[in-house]
Amino acid sequence: MARAITSQRKALNTALAWGVGLLIFFPILWTILTSFKTEAQAISDPPVFLFFDWTLENYSVVQQRSDYGRFLWNSIIIAGGSTILGIIIAVPAAWSMAFVPSKRTKDILLWMLSTKMLPAVGVLYPIYLIFIKLGLLDTKTGLVIVLMLINLPIIVWMLYTYFKEIPGEILEAARMDGATLREEVLYILTPMAIPGIASTLLLNVILAWNEAFWTLNLTAAKAAPLTAFIASYSSPEGLFYAKLSAASTMAIAPILILGWFSQKQLVSGLTFGAVK
């Protein structure tokens, strides 16, 4: 029997959800608002919320000073490339862990995750030296590889959890019908796990898009993505908050739009398997 929910309680829940949502969104909203202020209004005390002289000057200054298109293109290639490469490697890995586990599968999964606990700066020098030797510094290829590697544990873990929800018998039936391993993964498993793969894909694009340690430290002028674009507007000596906000807004806009249009897939993927 469905539990009765009073309309009063429903209204309260809605208000609470809106409250929490706005609280989380507020810093982004504030950044967007600040990007339309002058530098003096950006630091004014008490702060101005909506009633100020809206200006597009910061955007025009940022456009003039930086080649936004180049940074954006680099971000798209690096975030997209590393995610796709990660998925290609992680699907077979997660398949074997979910459907033909060995005694050590659980340990391997935990060990993979434990690599995420190492502070990135601890391996900066070794990776930098390897990149020099391989000529990968300031290349998109180098960043695609590094970001794929650092996100791989998360991709494998997410896919593994989704695959675990799929009954092994279906794959067994396919095998009985003579499907090869490739056909089994490609035509049976993957279509069934589409929501899971989609949300893994989206989450990893977001993670790679926002990654700001390796993308800053392994690039210079050619492969720098939007994180470097933002870093070029931050300054400890001089008040450029309005311009920094304009740059930040331009950097997060594409991912914000992507998130907005794919929120249905993202939510259904993240809750995939929770209700049977």
Binding site: I132, S232, P236
Partner: protein, 433 residues
Amino acid sequence: MFAKYALGAATAISLIAAGSASAETITIATVNNGDMIRMQGLTDDFTTKTGHVVEWVTLEENVLRQRVTTDITTKGGQFDIMTIGMYETPIWGRNGWLVPLDDLPAEYDADDILPAMRGGLSVDGTLYAAPFYGESSMIMYRTDLMEKAGLEMPDAPTWEFVAGAARAMTDKDNGIYGICLRGKAGWGENMAFLTATANAFGARWFDENWQAQFDQPEWKETLEFYVNLMNDAGPPGASNNGFNENLSLFQQGKCGMWIDATVAASFVTNPDDSTVANKVGFALAPDTGKGKRGNWLWAWALGIPAGTQKTDAAKEFIQWATSKEYIELVAAKEGWANVPPGARTSLYEDPNYKDVPFARMTLESILSADPTNPTVDPVPYVGIQFAAIPEFAGIAGQVGQEFAAALAGQQSVDEALAKAQALTTDEMEAAGY
């Protein structure tokens, strides 16, 4: 007629060929501040004159420092010119990581570089980075509030006068605080200010045998003076305030005095951003009668990492960016108040620059700073607001945390100094001093 055309064409072709043969693309790493951004905007002038193309990598100061340090220590070769400061230059120069700039042509007039800047960017008399702009620190104060308090700021005040004036100007009910000083932890934030100020109180980081000196009475006097003054006359939450936070407070008329970098003078007197632009006066950083003032010395300079394949093009850029002609170019396009200050003697002899309100005090502050002899007693290190040894940034970062905690009231001055002494001693022993 034909011969004339042919000669002209041949000359043009050979010029283009010569130009394209030597034209390079150089990559420059730099910080995000007004003067550097202005330079980026004027790069076309350099490209027109030399044919070289410039690619900029602009980063926030701390990110830049980490980025260029990684690259130069691993010989990564990502940059042909790096923007570095007075802290890095002598250390890197001594290690042979930078190309010496001792063969600049006579018309560049290297002798025109202010002696304090040249000294701080040289190792054993060899220049390793050319100053783009230089700064010291000084007092910026509100002339109207000073008058209201019935006081007159001398050109060279003592800390006693400054503290008295700060308390007299404070009107917390109306949100006016007598003095705004750096409190945010960091070797380039609160420790730059406190190390320079400690010099005026006769304190030093290390004695001649590299022994930490935080257990000496001069440090206790410095830190107690600072914490008490900030509690009485500083803004709330001062332990979170760095340069930008204090700049914002001062521009909104909430500070009576602010002691910080001389470059701030152009911000606080700019009527577009500052509500107090026409009410600001300048004075030398205070002393305590011991013969030293708490004013620091810093330069953002351009250096060439050893190992770059484009040394000649990089040198051409440095000559262009730090020349007298560049100063004239900025003056013509953006006005004299926007030229990069504090690098060349000739700028301060230019009659056009004398009208800039903060020019005289900036020059006097820079001239009175001596990085080789920073405090009352002798020290084994070079540097005023830092000690130019590789270990300093790490140690001062930790000491800065302790001092910020003392300012925030989370621990006493004695506890902060005891911890600073212990951690500095440990780190220096581990480093083999």
